[in-house]
């Protein structure tokens, strides 16, 4: 049996080898980044999107939560939103009329994520109870006025940080967890179909905080983690990540696929958003905000979303800013946080409606807000 000293020596040697390898990898990646989207677009003569102060306005404020809003999701078809809050409730809203259609009291109030099923009939949520609960919105409430849970998906060994239904499949759901894994579930049976990560060599090495399913190829999804990487997974092959994407220097709080399904964006604790190419692994663009004049720490990016054309990247920050980035020119074209009726606290989540006509932001100020184009549009 090897002595402790021998083991320590071997471990130190292995660690030094890995660190050297990491540095070589970093340098090699840096060499490949000889240009970016901004430089290319400027060379093509692109001009930045311009917004007047009244173009994008807050046209609805959804009030009703009594705690911080942590997560939201739109229905694929109707303009309904489900939101999850620290008050221990899910609320389903008709975003057009601002009315609440359902209020679901949760067994565990510490909810971190929620999602709408593709048919809009069910919602899922997860949090510190390390489980994902499914509610059927057509269920009858019980005598106490509580909606019964339809299914509880248990198996994670850590908190459930993110969840998303596989598009066009009401029976399949993917969750991301603090146990460093993602899981594909069969909602009807409650069984785990596949586990991504964990013991397998190419899994995340820290908490998974976010995930996004490719809208054009629903067999692929990406997960963002506290290990500062994003990993691409194939639902059919759980044993190994297809690819790992490096670049960020902090926890990756949000990942979202670009509308073309070939790129994806990320938002991180390092204060930047980035655009990666799925196939090549290249970091195509860094969206780096200006440092604060007072030299305060950079606010972290909590959530991101792309407009349906991909031209705009919406990024919510911990200081209440909601930047609208021109993705091609890497410029901030608008800050929703400075507009009238903006949020009073951290933007914790945001999402675009399925038709791309409205953005919903959720905040620690307990409200959700709908932002849309207010100018007159005439179709020629």
């Amino acid at each position: 049996m090897a002595s402790v000293a021998d083991l320590k020596e071997k471990h130190a040697a292995a660690t030094a080898s890995v660190n050297s390898l990491r540095e070589r990898l970093r340098q090699r990646r840096q060499l490949l980044l000889d240009t970016d989207v901004e430089r290319y677009s400027k060379a093509q003569g692109r001009t930045a999107v311009s917004f007047n102060q009244t173009d994008l306005v807050c046209c609805r404020t959804l009030q009703g939560h009594s705690g911080k809003v942590y997560s939201l999701d739109w229905t694929p078809e109707k303009n309904w939103i489900v939101s999850a809050s620290q008050d221990g409730r899910l609320i389903v809203w008709n975003a057009l009329t601002s009315q609440k259609t359902h209020a679901i009291k949760l067994h565990c109030p510490w909810v971190m994520t929620c999602a709408f099923a593709p048919n809009g009939q069910s919602v899922a949520c997860g949090g510190l109870d390390s489980a994902c609960s499914i509610f059927n919105l057509n269920s009858q409430v019980d005598r106490d006025g509580n909606m019964p849970v339809s299914r509880i998906l248990t198996g994670h060994k850590g908190y459930v940080s993110s969840c998303q239904y596989v598009p066009d499949q009401e029976t399949r759901l993917i969750t991301g967890s603090g146990d460093q894994t993602c899981v594909l579930w069969d909602v009807t049976t409650g069984q785990r179909i596949s586990i991504f990560g964990g013991e397998f060599p190419s899994g995340h090495t820290a908490d998974v905080l976010s995930l996004s399913i490719n809208p054009l190829n629903t067999n692929m999804f990406v997960s963002g983690s506290c290990d500062t990487t994003v990993r691409l997974w194939d639902l059919r092959i759980a044993s190994r990540a297809v690819r790992t994407y490096h670049g960020h220097e902090g926890d990756i709080n949000s990942v979202k696929f670009f509308p073309d399904g070939q790129r994806f964006g990320t938002g991180s604790d390092d204060g930047t958003c980035r655009l990666f190419d799925m196939r090549t692994g290249h970091q195509l663009q860094v969206y780096n905000r200006e440092p604060d004049r007072n030299d305060n720490e950079l606010p972290i990016v909590t959530s991101i979303a792309f407009s349906i054309s991909g031209r705009l990247l919406f990024a919510g920050y911990s200081n209440g800013d909601c930047y609208v980035w021109d993705t091609l020119l890497a410029e901030v074209v608008l800050n929703l946080g400075t507009l009238q009726n903006s949020h009073d606290g951290r933007i914790s989540c945001l999402g675009l409606s399925s038709d791309g006509s409205a953005l919903c932001t959720g905040s620690w100020d307990k409200n959700l807000k709908i932002w849309a184009f207010s100018g007159h549009r005439k179709i020629v």
């Binding site: 990898l25 093509q44 609440k100 006025g145 604790d269 849309a372």
Partner: protein, 434 residues
């Protein structure tokens, strides 16, 4: 954990190992162990997270055999033969072993102290192997400029109309000239940059006179240039150990030892008892929905997770306040709205009542007689039907008046959105004109 061996495996073939089956009687139920794959082994419902697995036997079963399965990482992918060995009592019998020469190995310790060290090294080597694979992948990769990605992005973005971007926009054709000139100059001269409305705003103009700074992010307010290796200028939250004196040491994350995940380690994060805090939240609070570890005798304020020491906290109504007294919280709004929402806590004499102020869940018992109760809303109708007056009908396909296209959200009277079949833009189905 005592093991009764029911079969032996005498092959190095991972496929055969997969079908090996071991009975492991436990106190409560018999757990079965089998090799699921070449990379992990599963015992009962639990996965062993490490690659190094020993089964040790109790001395009370001197006739039991030891199965030792030593699994190395994927990079090495060598699975030495498993052998049947006897241990306990010092009588080692290597019957059935295949190829090893040498002496029999002693039974592994149950404490697993050395095992943890080997596991850590194996994990590090595994990561190294994954890194080697990635390095090979990068060796053959093309730089970004040659990959075609940028062209694809630019092309895609121009294809689709975006409802959030104004469509009537004057294009400054003369801007193309300014862009071309600027690109040829290679530097941004402030007067040239800022005079033309075509060009983007000048960023950090103070850096334009700083010739040594090629990257804007390197420019500090006093325009001193920093070492290009000092990446902490971009991110203040973590200092690299070899960072030059320009970096402040305070930016390094403290207290790494307590936590497993970096997200927990913020500068203000401290746990009174490492076992109590699971460090699942970035703010490093105690996990209220989890269970307190047996070692956790006290939790910091507000942590109702420690049930053994805070017995009154068995209901969401109760909160552990200092000496664990219970109080009724403020009543939240009447979401279900057909009965009063009550809060009751053990020891609380007052019941918390609230009145029905908003009724949206359409049931027959919903706020009868109350003016705020809408008897029929579309959400009341089954199968997604539509509500007209007091009855539910199947919803007609909404038509999209052309002139109302695009004004879904800006129109306060719009209650239902649709997609215009002709122009594919979002429209207001109720014909709201803007």
């Amino acid at each position: 954990m005592d093991i009764q061996c029911s079969s032996s495996v005498a092959s190095t073939d991972p496929q055969n190992l997969k079908h090996a089956f071991f009975q492991i009687p436990s106190l409560a139920t018999n757990h079965a162990a089998w090799l699921v794959s070449a990379h992990k082994i599963r015992v009962g419902p639990t996965f062993f997270p490490y690659f190094l697995v020993f089964f040790s036997l109790s001395r009370s079963f001197p006739s039991c055999e030891l199965f030792s399965l030593v699994l190395f990482s994927l990079s090495f992918s060598s699975l030495p033969s498993s052998s049947r060995r006897r241990c306990g009592g010092g009588d080692v019998n290597r019957a059935g072993a295949e190829d090893e020469g040498g002496e029999g190995e002693p039974c592994p310790s149950r404490s697993g102290g050395d095992t943890a060290g080997r596991d850590s090294t194996a994990e590090t080597r595994r990561r190294g192997a994954v890194g080697e694979d990635e390095l090979q992948l990068l060796e053959g990769a093309q730089p970004v400029s040659h990959s075609g990605c940028l062209k694809e992005v630019n092309h895609y973005v121009g294809m689709k109309q975006d409802p959030l971007i104004t469509i009537n926009k004057r294009k400054h054709r003369s801007c193309r000239l300014y862009w071309w000139v600027r690109s040829k100059l290679g530097v941004c001269i402030s007067w040239f940059c800022c005079s033309c409305q075509c060009l983007p705003k000048c960023k950090s103009p103070r850096c334009f006179n700083c010739s040594c700074c090629n990257d804007e992010s390197c420019c500090k307010p006093n325009c001193s240039c920093c070492s290009p290796d000092c990446s902490c200028f971009k991110i203040s939250s973590c200092c690299k150990p070899n960072c030059s004196p320009f970096c402040d040491l305070w930016c390094c994350k403290p207290n790494w030892a307590c936590f497993n995940t970096s997200s927990c380690c913020k500068s203000q994060c401290s746990c009174p008892s490492p076992n109590c805090c699971t460090c699942n939240l970035p703010s490093c609070k105690c996990n209220p929905c989890g269970e307190c570890k047996p070692e956790c005798s006290s939790c910091s304020g507000g942590c109702c997770d420690c049930k053994p020491s805070c017995s009154c906290c068995n209901d969401q109504c109760c909160s552990c306040v200092e000496s664990c007294s219970c109080s009724c919280p403020r009543c939240l709004g009447c979401f279900s709205c057909f009965k009063f929402l009550k809060c009751s806590c053990a020891g609380c004499s007052n019941l918390c009542k609230c009145s029905c102020t908003q009724c949206f869940n359409c049931q027959s018992s919903c706020c009868k007689g109350q003016p705020s109760c809408f008897k029929c809303q579309s959400s009341c109708c089954d199968e997604g039907g539509c509500c007209r007056s007091t009855s539910c009908f199947s919803c007609p396909e909404p038509s999209c008046p052309e002139c109302s296209c695009g004004c879904v959200w800006s129109c306060k009277n719009c209650t239902e959105g649709c997609r215009c079949a002709r122009c594919c833009n979002p429209c207001c189905a109720t014909g709201c004109l803007c």
